[in-house]
Symmetry: C2
Subunit: 148 residues, 2 copies
DNA sequence: CTTAAACGTTGCCATAGTGTCAACGTCAAT
DNA sequence: ATTGACGTTGACACTATGGCAACGTTTAAG
């Protein structure tokens, strides 16, 4: 199985497979006399593990740890769970932040009439100096601030 | 006002201020005879605009457009609103994706007892080929036999 | 007046993860 | 034997930011 077939089988591009090898995420595989990489079932399985981990948003560094735990038959499931929980916590934090900015933006949008006139609370909100808002800007901020 | 003061006033690091200038997001400012950049109120205001836009998650490319709209006194607020709506849609999509993977992960975590034994549904879930989960894999989950 | 600290300048490297392209070697089928 | 599809490495790009180095400037103290 050469790299193209492994890529098709795993859903990871040849480029990325080489990259994962280059950063030591995967051990170098066997080569043919001509230097072609040779993959067997075990390596394709590992690629699948990496792919699913990536799909769940794990960083390559964390996947490095996960692969270590996967290979470690003496692992403690508590260690895996701890790592996963930490990842969930970070996801929650990311979601929270995105929702916060989404809501702020939504608020600004709701107050923009969106016609052919230049007057625009969205632009005003971005232009406003929060620390020393003047009266004009203050009107907008009064409704739509809460930033950070 | 030199770059350090402008940085303090705007909350953007000197490094980033230079960067924004280098990519043409901001026009080059005046320089002293010695080559020091000189900022006045107007430029600090622009930096504030950029900062708030970044805080709302706009990319520098979009901020480029927003700055153009800001400066364009003949803008149509509909254009701003359209851009903001698009950004909200993308935020919604990002949030949706994060929540999806968060839920998948949460599901796995809930089924992991998290003790000192190696048996771990999280690792199994990552190792399992979802498209063709064979009996062998099921055995592993049931019995808790190790990797591979 | 000199010196040192604190600041400015440019430029290069690094991050994470992926794509694209080039220059070149190899394998398989015609 | 040629061609085309594939492999190899390397370089560069992207986003947005941080850091460091080498070097110049300004300012305050001695």
């Amino acid at each position: 199985m050469n790299i193209g077939e492994a890529a098709t089988a795993s859903g990871i591009s040849p480029k990325m497979i080489r990259y994962y090898e280059s950063i030591g995420l995967m051990r170098p595989v066997q080569r043919t006399a001509a230097g072609y990489r040779v993959y067997d079932y075990h390596e394709v399985q590992t690629l699948g593990f990496i792919k699913r981990s990536r799909e769940l948003g794990f960083s390559l560094e964390r996947i490095r740890t996960l692969l270590g735990l996967w290979e470690d038959t003496a692992r403690q499931s508590a260690d895996v769970k701890k790592l996963a929980r930490k990842h969930i916590d970070e996801l929650d934090e990311d979601i929270r932040k995105l929702q916060s900015i989404r809501d702020q933006l939504q608020h600004l949008v709701e107050h923009c009439h969106g016609d052919n006139r230049p007057d625009c609370p969205i632009i005003d909100g971005l232009a406003a100096d929060k620390k020393t808002p003047d009266v004009h800007v203050c009107d907008r901020q009064a409704v739509g601030s809460a930033k950070q």
